[in-house]
């Protein structure tokens, strides 16, 4: 079953993709909002995909009987990789939807376990991108529980990423949400000193990998993880050479037990969803950024027509 077999949005009776924020505080409120949402779905013959941290899954399992229409997905492989989440949601709802029945989702990112401010920012960007990813169908309804008691809680910023807000079991439009507004990125952090810099152009891919390898070696990164970083870095640098003015600048540095590789070029990535969905076997091109998101621990992409593109690849260091 592919995603287009899901029921599609219609202008009048079907609201299309619904993205609803549910601010809560503590386990009781979490259960109160999510159980009502899930039971409504099951009572109405809808399928439900639940993608929440393990402790929340345990809470829900304790309250809900097993039901073939209710599926808890393992988020281990994607929880800390915001760039992989849209592809994961597509797979989850494709796999779970059958016979054209509507699908609801309950998705809570691992805000409390986020390993850095950068990860929190990218998780929030993922929430914003979801609106674009599913804007043209299929129709489904995603409830995002959000713990306002969490250390990194920023309710107003989260509200800008959700069209609807759930309060006391009622859904209302989210006043802070503007579908036309650009995402309000926080400025990129400054590279940590000392950093290495290398200007690359056609024919320099091998030298670029050497530069990264040298930095990785100093930081103790090698083997499979280094090979994966080399692959991701080559994709980004190749894009600079092909689409970003023929050249780019690489910077590498270590930061908070991570190796960061930054690529700057003059190109512009017009589609903010580039690399967020799994390519098909017959698709021509478009695999580079997908691979980058799958192979790196964290990816930051900033691109404007005026300032060009900056891509940062973060790789966790061993130990």
């Amino acid at each position: 079953m592919n995603r287009y077999s899901l029921r599609r949005a219609s202008a009048s009776s079907d609201p299309g993709y619904r993205h609803e924020l549910y601010p809560y505080s503590g386990p009781d409120e979490f259960l109160e909002g999510t159980l009502g949402f899930i039971r409504d779905a099951l009572d109405g013959g809808e399928a439900v995909v639940v993608a929440v941290p393990e402790d929340k899954t345990t809470l829900l399992r304790g309250e809900l009987p097993d039901d073939p229409a209710l599926r808890y997905v393992d988020t281990t492989a994607v929880a800390h990789h915001p760039g992989r989440l849209i592809g994961a949601w597509r797979e989850w709802i494709d796999e779970h939807a059958s016979r054209g029945r509507p699908v609801r989702g309950v998705g809570e990112s691992a805000w409390g376990d986020a390993r850095s401010r950068v990860e929190v920012e990218e998780l929030r960007y993922h929430e914003w991108l979801l609106n674009k990813a599913f804007a043209d169908g299929p129709a489904w309804w995603l409830l995002c529980p959000y713990d306002v008691a969490g250390e990194s809680a920023a309710l107003k910023q989260m509200a800008r990423c959700h069209a609807e807000l759930r309060t006391d079991g009622r859904t209302t439009p989210c006043a802070d949400y503007d579908p036309q507004a650009p995402f309000d990125f926080a400025p990129l952090t400054r590279p940590c000193d000392p950093y290495e810099e290398f200007v690359y152009t056609r024919g320099d891919l091998a030298a670029l990998r050497e530069k990264i390898g040298a930095c990785a070696e100093q930081l103790g990164l090698h083997g499979r993880r280094l090979r994966e970083l080399h692959l991701a870095a080559t994709e980004v640098a190749s894009n600079s050479i092909r689409y970003g003015g023929g050249r780019g600048v690489l910077r590498t540095w270590g930061e908070d037990r991570r190796l960061v590789c930054e690529f700057r070029d003059a190109g512009y990535i017009a589609d903010p969803l580039a690399g967020r969905s799994k390519p098909t076997s017959t698709q021509i091109g478009g695999r580079g950024l997908w691979l980058v998101h799958q192979l790196c621990d964290l990816v930051e992409i900033r691109s404007t027509p005026d300032t060009g593109t900056v891509i940062r690849l973060h790789t966790d260091l061993p130990g």
């Binding site: 499979r224 692959l231 190749s238 092909r242 799994k278 698709q283 691979l291």
Partner: protein, 260 residues
């Protein structure tokens, strides 16, 4: 087992070698290859020069095959000479191929095909084949591609292609080095050529250091091009296999098998 290597001189050419020799401006092909041709008499090899008749031929016993005048393919002509050499009691065939642009130029994919033919011929027959290219006649990109299908290199500026594909056994080809966006086009042409000639192409990738999405797309496109054929990659590392799967290429529509 054949292995890629760089030669310091043509004295080192051995049975089954397929050498790429780059000629500098002003170099004469016979002057630069004199040792190779002369060793024919020393070792009892039949010497064939492929190209226009060389300036000095009297000092050596040799046969000249001029591609511009010969009927049929170069490979067929060389194979005939190999059969003749065996019948005439020679130890082996020694081929000096001076590759020049034919009228109207030669497409680099035609050149690649011709060189893959010679590579297979050298590996399977034990012939000694030296291909001489003048750096002034060919652009750097073509020479880089040509270098990819020669396991052996010689010259004051020996070609150091980013990857090499060479015959290792009757049914397999070794791939080494780095295949990225810079070499993907050449890799695609090589694969299509190999697939056109056999139903299963076995690539030994134990020495393949790096294989990026552009290279994988080239592999997928070539395999799709002839779906009744199959490409088997052996010795791929876990990163290559993971990237292949992540790229969406794993499946029955693309007849490629990736194995450790």
């Amino acid at each position: 087992m054949r292995a890629a290597r760089t030669l310091a001189s043509l004295d080192e050419v051995g049975a089954g070698d397929h050498v790429c020799q780059l000629l500098e401006p002003g170099d004469d092909v016979i002057d630069r290859s004199r040792a190779f041709v002369a060793d024919g008499a020393l070792f009892g090899d039949k010497v064939v020069i492929v190209g226009a008749a060389p300036r000095v031929t009297g000092e050596f016993a040799l046969t000249v095959l001029d591609p511009a005048r010969s009927q049929g393919s170069l490979l067929a002509a060389v194979r005939r000479e190999a059969v003749n050499a065996g019948r005439e009691g020679f130890r082996a065939l020694r081929v000096l191929h001076h590759v020049t642009r034919a009228a109207g130029g030669r497409r680099s994919d035609d050149l690649l095909r011709s060189e893959l033919d010679l590579e297979e011929f050298a590996a399977d027959s034990g012939a000694l084949v030296v291909c001489a290219y003048s750096v002034t006649d060919w652009d750097a990109s073509t020479l880089e591609q040509i270098g990819c299908v020669h396991p052996h290199h010689l010259g004051s500026r020996p070609a150091s292609p980013s990857f090499q594909v060479y015959r290792t056994a009757k049914d397999s080809w070794t791939v080494n080095g780095v295949i990225d966006a810079d070499g993907a086009l050449a890799f695609a042409t090589i694969l299509r050529t190999l697939l056109a000639q056999s139903t299963t192409v076995r690539l030994l990738c134990h020495e393949l250091d790096f294989f990026d999405a552009a290279g994988m797309s080239a592999l997928a496109d070539a395999a799709r091009h002839l779906p009744e054929r199959k490409v088997v990659l052996e010795g791929t590392n876990d990163t290559v296999r993971l990237a292949w799967e992540l790229s969406g290429f794993e499946g029955p529509g693309i007849p490629v098998v990736m194995a450790p």
